[in-house]
């Protein structure tokens, strides 16, 4: 008989099943829908910044294109690739956890974390470069010069860097939270908590991780690429 402490109405139910769900399938669907609804709110959270970027880029096109060309495209491209690989390893972690392959799950989760940390490390190098060149908005901002013409950019280039730091900063914050979530998954996976029957936490963190990747998929061309044809 099932233990009394859980007060589960259906005896013999799997331990992962909360008592208010009829079965694990419905529980998984509810978790998934809840996660997607959270991600929808995130779309609108980032959407405000994307809208601001679109408007100001249209109204101050030359400042934005010139300032965009000052970003390090090589590092930006490497980071894009790092994130895509991390999405692959995350997808493989979800796949492995759903098959009860404990060692593979732990391996793919740790790989995902290493790639996420690499992304943040490269982002740190980029940020440091911006600080060294006084391209960070604020009292120490110095209006940068166009890479080609060597003329000073319009004053609104500071707005580009404000949006650059807000958008990449918010994205980096999501990455840091993601790293925390994945490290929590590593601990649970090592305890063998995920199986063919139940891997919802891996699945849900996977959704989050891929979503953060999608944000970067848009940030990369918008911030790094949209002025390159003017060079």
């Amino acid at each position: 008989m099932a233990s009394v402490t859980h007060a589960v109405p259906h005896d013999g139910a799997p331990p992962e099943l909360r008592h208010h769900f009829p079965d694990l399938g419905k529980q998984r669907e509810a978790s998934s829908l809840g996660m997607w609804i959270f991600l929808v709110t995130e779309v609108l959270f980032f959407g405000g910044m994307f809208t601001a970027y679109a408007i100001y880029r249209e109204t101050h096109r030359r400042a934005f294109e010139g300032a965009s060309n000052l970003l390090d495209l090589r590092l930006g491209t490497i980071n894009t690739i790092v994130l895509i690989v991390s999405s692959l390893t995350m997808a493989l972690a979800v796949w492995a956890s759903g098959r009860g392959r404990k060692n593979a799950t732990v391996l793919f989760l740790i790989l995902t974390m290493l790639l996420g940390a690499t992304f943040l490390g490269i982002k740190y190098v980029e940020y440091k470069q911006k600080f060294d060149r006084h391209e960070v908005p604020g009292p120490h901002f110095v209006v940068p010069h166009d890479e080609e013409t060597h003329q000073p950019l319009p004053r609104q280039s500071e707005m580009f860097f404000s949006l650059y730091f807000c958008m990449t900063g918010l994205h980096a914050l999501h990455m840091i939270i993601g790293l925390g979530l994945v490290s929590w998954l590593v601990m649970r996976a090592r305890r063998g908590e995920f199986s063919e029957r139940y891997n919802t936490p891996v699945d849900m963190v996977g959704l989050y991780w891929h979503f953060v990747d999608i944000i970067w998929i848009y940030l990369f061309p918008l911030l790094y690429l949209l002025g390159r044809h003017t060079i």
Binding site: L44, T51, A54, T59, T77, R197, G206, I217, P221
Partner: protein, 102 residues
Amino acid sequence: MSAHGKGHGGVGAYFGVFLTLMVLTLLTVWAAYQHLGIWNTPVALGIATTKAVLVALIFMHLKDSPKLTSIVVGSSLLFLAFLIFVTASDYLTRKWIPIYFR
């Protein structure tokens, strides 16, 4: 019920999407340097959207999720479109009435 990947094409599909994402990333960097006139931005956003759709459909299993999930995702895109369209319809039409700038 339960675990993912059953009859989803599984790992093979993941590697296919991964390779496509890599190619599209290099393609968008290359395209950014081409002189496409007004088309540079649409091409960049088109490639980004293709990548995002692939990630959502395959990595995030949207393809094999209940229809309700797709409706939820669609609602977010609808409201994002409202947000951008309504804001742009203000800012980008202000010059149509020149008196504001005199």
